[in-house]
Symmetry: C2
Amino acid sequence: MKIGILGTGDVGRALGTGFAVLGHEVKMGSRHPEQAKVREWLKKTGPKASAGTFSEAAAFGEIAVLAVAWTGAENAIDLAGPENLAGKVVIDVTNPLDFSSGALRLAVGHTDSAGEMVQRWMPQAKVVKTFNHVGYAHMVNPKFTDGPPTMFLCGNDGSAKRKVAVLLEAFGWSVIDIGGIESSRYLEPLAALWITYGSRTNTWNHAFRLLRK
Amino acid sequence: MKIGILGTGDVGRALGTGFAVLGHEVKMGSRHPEQAKVREWLKKTGPKASAGTFSEAAAFGEIAVLAVAWTGAENAIDLAGPENLAGKVVIDVTNPLDFSSGALRLAVGHTDSAGEMVQRWMPQAKVVKTFNHVGYAHMVNPKFTDGPPTMFLCGNDGSAKRKVAVLLEAFGWSVIDIGGIESSRYLEPLAALWITYGSRTNTWNHAFRLLRK
């Protein structure tokens, strides 16, 4: 499958590597596709990997991944071109983190969410919110002592969610669908909880699991 | 220890029974302490159990538990008398659930939370938010296949949180402190996630665990 990744930070590169290892073709989209970290990633990742502008990556992908800092998300979507994402599955990994006060807070919540905003910014795309409540180091092939962690996802299109669930399961996640994109209102605070635990303990090797009987 | 429980619903009775089994003295507080479900609970629970008004239960407890429906929470605190709770540990189990639209939403969030409101309503109490992100059937001695679930807690008083952690651990929980009472902004959406999964699957036998390496 062809996957376009919008964003070349830690998250974008980790997911890009993970998809390429599984045999997918990955195009990394960036404001600056010539920058060193992108060139290094291409060299390391091999023939399945390419890079281009946000627009080129969006046009390339059958599935796209939005993995940019929240403050740049709307602009990244403008640059990618919502028309390049129309009808496609877009995995929204963003979190509306705001550290401007010195402490973590979410820039949006309760009656709205980043996931819903992203869906509004690309109304013809099938946005699936997921991957946002674990650190990039554990997104691909998460290994924890007590069983596979749980990745929650939500979105308005059932078929899109099933496609994303297949990708997540290939990475080793146990996947749970929690409804429409408005459930991002719960998954973004879950990311904040993940970060809060990390900040308080200065450890970043944790993940949630939903236990069942 | 003497524990006053404000609220005689499923949550209040489950916790009251759990505390009594551990040897604590429990007084259940109610608007109607003579009602049948309270009399039955007293009969079943035995000599460690008593019942009275909200005010009597609040005055009785060295620790109090707020376990009422959110719509009645402020009134319950008025009836209990914040002066009866001054200086005491108050475990806030409430969730600001609002089903008035037909679907679940939270009545407060993002920039405020039920936990913070409860703390403001009893400014001299040491409010600890916890127990809100699992169903009453699993609050005491939770048994799941893959290890003990995690109970998060938050509050502004470290000593109060340690006392509550001891009670939680006696019930079999693994306890994680996630900071001041404002972290209720993450624990109440976590409850909404718990409920959303339950509603979608019509199963209520689940709990969160934070996996670590």
